[in-house]
Amino acid sequence: MAAYRPLHIPTSEITPREIYMSRRSFLGTAAAGLMLAGSGSALAAPLTASPSAFKVDEPLTPKEAVTTYNNFYEFGVNKEDPSQNAGAFKPTPWSVKVEGMVGKPKEFGLDELMKMQLEERTYRLRCVEGWSMVIPWIGFPLSALLDQVEPLGSAKYVAFETVVRPEEMPGQSGFFQPLPWPYIEGLRLDEARHPLTILAVGLYGETLPNQNGAPIRLVVPWKYGFKSIKSIVKISLVEKQPETTWKNANAREYGFYSNVNPAVDHPRWSQATEQRIGEGGFFGAARRPTLPFNGYADEVASLYSGMDLKANY
C-alpha cells in the first residue's frame, strides 16, 4: 500500500528470497489488518540522512501524532482523514517537473531526488489553525534543486503544484469539494532559496507516509503549515507572484506570505498562542506563546526588512 523504498540498497541489506517471500505474505495480512483498523499507517522504508545544524531543542512531537493529525484536504477535511484515506495513494512511480524561467528545465525522477544530499532537519511546524508540532524531517535544500535548473534572472517567484488523482485521493472527488484542485502554493525566489527551505522526502527516519505528503513535499518552517505544499508534481519559476490556493479561497484571511506572526491575528482567531500537539493532554493542554517567524526570526527576518508585515500577511 503506502510503501516505497529508497533506491540505493546495499547488498548487505538484501534479504534472502525465502524470508522475503514469507515477509510478503505477512505484509499481506498486516496490510489487510491495517486497512480494517483504518489506521493507514504507512509501511515506510528507512532512510539515511546526515545530521544537520538546523535542529530545534524542543521535545519531538510523537510520531503517531505527526502521522495521524494532519491537514491534507485531498484526503478529507478531518484531522484523522488523511491517515485513514491515504492507503490507496501510490507515491511511486513519481516525478517532479521543474520548468518556467529556467535555463535547463528538467523532470526529476524520484530516484534522482532521493539521491540528493539528505539531511535530518528538526523543525517547528505551526499550523494557521493555532496548533504546532516539532518534526524531524529528512530532506534537502530546495536551492540544491533550483541550482540544477539554472533559474533565469527574470525569475522572481517559485510556484508549486500538488498532484491531482481523484481515484486515489478521496477528497478530490464527490460533492462539497473543500478547495479547487490542484492545490497550488508559491514562494518568493529568495524565500525558496533560503537554506531553511527544504524539500522533504521523509520524517522520523523513514520515507514520508502518504498522509504527510509522500513522496516529496515542501517544508518552510517560518510560515504557516499550509504553505508547505505536499505531494509536489510541478515547480515553476515565474516572474509574477503566483496564485495560491488558500489566498484564492479567502484572500482576507490567508495572504501570500503567511509568515508565522503572533502580532497579526487571523481575522477569526488570535495567532498569539499555539497548542503544541501531544503535550499536556485533555486537562493540562497548555498553550504556549507563538514566536515571530515561528522562532526563526534570526535566520529569516532580514528577508522582509522594510516590509509592512501587517499589510503583507
Binding site: E64, Y69, E129, F175, F176, D265, W269, S270, G278, A285
Partner: protein
C-alpha cells in the same frame, strides 16, 4: 397518519426523563474518550467542537417538533422542553470547555475573543439569549407569562440562525457536515412563515374535496 404507535400516557414522564439521560450520553461519552486519550491529539478542541455540533443537533430537534406534528401528525410536543434544555446544556458545556480547558480561564483572552471575533460574539450572544429561555422553561413561567411566553420563546429561531452562522464562520471551509446542519436549520426557520398557509391549505383541502363532489 404515520404508523408510530402512541406511547401510553403513564410512560410519558418516564420517557421524558429517559430523553434527558440519553441526550447527555454524547457529552459523557466524548468526555470519557477525551480524558482517556480517545479523541486524538487535540482532545480539547475536538471535545469543544463535538459539544457545539450536538448543541446544534438539539436545536434542530427542538425546531422539528412543530413541523413533525403539522405535517406528519406525530405529536412529540411533550419532548420539546427537554430537547431545548439539552441544547442549552450543550451550549453551556461548549462555552465552558472553550473558556476553561482551551483558554485556561484566561478571562482577558475570552473577553478579547468575544469582543473581536464575530463568530465568537455571535456564539456568546446565542448563549446569553438561551438563558431566559432556559429559566422560563417551567410550567409556572408559562402560566405567569401567558402570551408573553410564546413571544419570548420565538427567540429560539434567532438563536438557531445565530448558531448556524457561528458554525459556518468557525470552519475553514463549509464541507458536507456543516452544510447539512446549516441546511436543516435554514429549512426549519423557513417553515415558520410558511406554517399558516400550509395549515390552512391542509384544513381547506377536505372541504374543497367535498365541494367538488
Amino acid at each position: 397518519m404515520v404508523g408510530i404507535p402512541t406511547l401510553p400516557r403513564r410512560y410519558h414522564s418516564a420517557s421524558i426523563w429517559a430523553l434527558y439521560g440519553i441526550g447527555l450520553c454524547p457529552a459523557l461519552w466524548y468526555f470519557y474518550l477525551a480524558a482517556t486519550g480517545g479523541l486524538g491529539f487535540n482532545p480539547v478542541k475536538e471535545f469543544e467542537h463535538l459539544l457545539g455540533i450536538w448543541a446544534l443537533r438539539f436545536i434542530i430537534a427542538t425546531l422539528a417538533i412543530t413541523p413533525l406534528r403539522d405535517l406528519l401528525g406525530i405529536n412529540w410536543v411533550r419532548y420539546r422542553r427537554a430537547l431545548g434544555l439539552l441544547a442549552f446544556y450543550y451550549v453551556l458545556m461548549h462555552f465552558t470547555v472553550y473558556a476553561l480547558l482551551d483558554l485556561r480561564l484566561d478571562l482577558g483572552a475570552v473577553g478579547g475573543d468575544i469582543a473581536k471575533r464575530p463568530y465568537i460574539t455571535i456564539g456568546f450572544a446565542c448563549l446569553l439569549l438561551l438563558i431566559p429561555l432556559a429559566v422560563t422553561s417551567n410550567n409556572w413561567s408559562i402560566r405567569k407569562l401567558q402570551q408573553g411566553w410564546n413571544r419570548l420563546h420565538k427567540l429560539i429561531y434567532l438563536i438557531a440562525a445565530g448558531g448556524a452562522f457561528h458554525y459556518v464562520l468557525a470552519v475553514k471551509s463549509v464541507t458536507f457536515v456543516p452544510f447539512i446542519h446549516v441546511a436543516l436549520i435554514a429549512l426549519l426557520i423557513a417553515y415558520r412563515p410558511l406554517r399558516r398557509p400550509i395549515l390552512n391549505w391542509k384544513r381547506g383541502k377536505p372541504k374543497m374535496a367535498q365541494a367538488t363532489r
